[in-house]
Each structure stands twice: as structure tokens, then as C-alpha cells.
Amino acid sequence: MVDSSLLDAEEYRRLCDYLYRHTGMAFTEARRYFVERRVEDRMIATGSSSFASYFARLRTNLQGELESLINASTVNETYFYREDHQFACLTSNLLQERLRMKPRGETMRIWSVPCSTGEEPYSIAIWLLENWAEVDAHDIEIVGSDIDTSVLEAARAGVFGRRALMRLSRALTDKYFTPAGPEHWQIIDELRQSVRFTAANIVERAETRPHGLFDVIFCRNLLIYFDDTSRRVAAENLYESLAPGGYICLGHAESMSRISSLFEVCRFADAIVYRRQPEAPHG
């Protein structure tokens, strides 16, 4: 068997101890893949030839390496069309499935949480306009929520740098953005008006409940930062925020089955997503 791990068990334990003492973030064995990828990125960025030399750099905090690793591991670094295979799944499968089950004419509700500075909910809007031939036939509501109110302000302003737009074609950038100063682009007004931004902490039921029921929730790369207890609470709140038969998409390194047995796993051609059981038919 080939061991593809970057770190051996002892190295991983030492790294996690160190991070826990300095950040309070508890990285467990279950998050090993995630941590190793971040370490690998940082090793490449710093030109470290081995984990030993990288770890020495980290412990002496050479050129602020501790902060760089923490930022790489927590910062809600995101961009337009990130993991767009899930958006493909949205338009190929999820929306059609939801339409089959919903009363005709009812609004299709999509929730992006956490939405950070808006890249994800705006991506969903653009994706629907570009890829869903029925976009004019349904009322669609896209809501972006985050616990951090400063990112919500930025999301509403909708101004992005080159990095956030790197995965969008030139044609899409020209179509949906206008230049807003050097190296910055603002998303067009029509799209800004098409996404609603609200504050919400998903471990607080009192904050998620007023948002109502959603057909599809995107909650990507958030649960990985929680400990087991918060993760279970969050999963329960997300479940309660889904309409029966509604879907939730997680980040590619996350697994709902590991957190909660409330959801059923659904495998589609473009993505694996989770579903709240539809209500049993009456009679």
C-alpha cells in the first residue's frame, strides 16, 4: 500500500499540538487531508524541501509563517465559480427535482451560507442566467448569509479584485461586471439587486429560523472549522432550514454522513449532495 500522506503520524501530531497551542483550532485526524494540503501549499510557497525544515520555519515564525498558515487554513478564501460542478448539478438535477415536488408557482429559494463577500451567491445567479433555460419561468430568491457583518457590507457593494474573478471567462466578466478602479470590478446593479444579504450564525437556531425554508443550501467549507458539538448543532439547523426534499451542498472535503444521520446522500453525475427526506405521501 502506498502511503500518500505528506506527514507521518508523529509529525502530524506535533503540528496539530503546535497549532492548537497557538490558535485554539483543534485539528483532528479527520481533518488531516485538509491540513496537509495547506501545509503542502505553504511548503511550496516557502521553498521548504521537507516537513522538518518547514516546521522549523513555522516554530520560529520566520517571516510570519504562523499567520500565513493560519490564514491559509481559515480565511474564507473564495472566488467566482468555485467548485462549479455543484452549480452544474444544481441546474442539471437539483432544481428539476425540486420543481417536481413543489407546488406550482412557489418561489425557488437558494441559500448561500456562509456567503463571505458574495462570490458564491453571485456565482449562483450568473450560473442560472447562463445555464438554466427556465430561468425566466420561476420566481428565484437567492439569499447570502454570514456571521460577519463586515463581509456582508462588501458583498452588497459587490466590488472584486482580479483573484476573485480568475475562473470567469472574459466574456462573463464583461457581461456581469463594470470596471471599478484599478484591478477592480463591480458586479452589475441588476445582480446586486437579485441577491439578498443577511446576517446569520448557523449554530444559532434563533438566527437561522427566520430565514424560512430553502430548496437548496450551499454550505461549503464552513463545518470543517467547527468542533464536533458545533458541527452537529449546525447540521441540525441546516436540516431544519431545508424544505422537505431540499438539498444541501458541502465543500468537497466535507462529509455530512460523518456529522449527522439526518440527511440522505444523493449521487448525481456532477456532484454528491445531501437531502432532507421528503415528507411521506399522505393516505
Partner: protein
């Protein structure tokens, strides 16, 4: 040969729908204006009459059928602006109500990209 672009007024309360139609029509060479409901559309008409209209049925404040009635009661040439009614309703009674109110054509949503552009070209007499 027209020396200006033909102008279409899109009347629909959904932001995404207006944006979607705008892009299709602009790509097809039209100029596009927007209104969120019948009341706003009537105001727009008086300020600068478009060459054709696309009107949704279900809208707040003033729905599409009421708007059409008001449009057709205007003086010429305003009252004769060709109008495509678009709606998620596709029952015979819905189509009949739009026809009676003065629709020139009725398309059930979703309206295909090409159909939308072609219908507007036909309404405006644009050779293709």
C-alpha cells in the same frame, strides 16, 4: 434601413428575468429598457415610446392584463405598439384574457432565447 436600434421595453417584476431578456435582446441588436410593473411601464411609454413591448402577467401594483388594457386606450400611435405577453400561466383562459386585453402574441415561460429574439425582430419588422 433603420438608422437606429429598435427599442424594446421589458416589463417584469423579477430582476433576473429582466436581466436575462435584456442580454438576449442586446445580443440580437436591440436596445432594451426595463419597467418593474404596469404603472412604471405606462410612465416609460409616455416619456419615450418603445418599438415593441414584452409584458409579464403576474406583477405587483399593476399586472400585465390591466396594463395592456390601459395601453390600448391610449391615443395612436402609442396604443398600437406591438406587445408580446409572457407568462408562466399557459391555460387557454389565460391566453384568451391576454388576447382580449390586446396582446399581439403570447409565449408561455420559459421563452427560448431564439424565440424571444425572433418574435421581437418580427414585431419591429427587422429583416433577418
Amino acid at each position: 434601413m433603420a438608422d437606429r436600434k429598435m427599442r424594446i421595453l421589458v416589463v417584469d417584476d423579477a430582476n433576473l428575468v429582466r436581466l436575462y431578456y435584456r442580454q438576449i435582446l442586446e445580443e440580437a441588436g436591440f436596445e432594451v429598457e426595463e419597467a418593474l410593473n404596469g404603472i412604471e411601464a405606462l410612465e416609460r411609454l409616455l416619456v419615450s415610446p418603445p418599438d415593441a413591448l414584452i409584458v409579464d402577467i403576474n406583477m405587483p401594483l399593476m399586472d400585465g392584463v390591466t396594463f395592456l388594457g390601459a395601453l390600448r386606450r391610449q391615443a395612436l400611435p402609442l396604443s398600437s405598439i406591438p406587445t408580446l405577453v409572457t407568462s408562466t400561466e399557459s391555460k387557454a383562459a389565460d391566453i384568451e384574457a391576454a388576447r382580449v386585453a390586446g396582446a399581439n402574441f403570447y409565449s408561455a415561460k420559459p421563452v427560448g432565447r431564439e424565440d424571444l429574439a425572433r418574435t421581437m425582430a418580427m414585431f419591429c419588422g427587422v429583416p433577418q
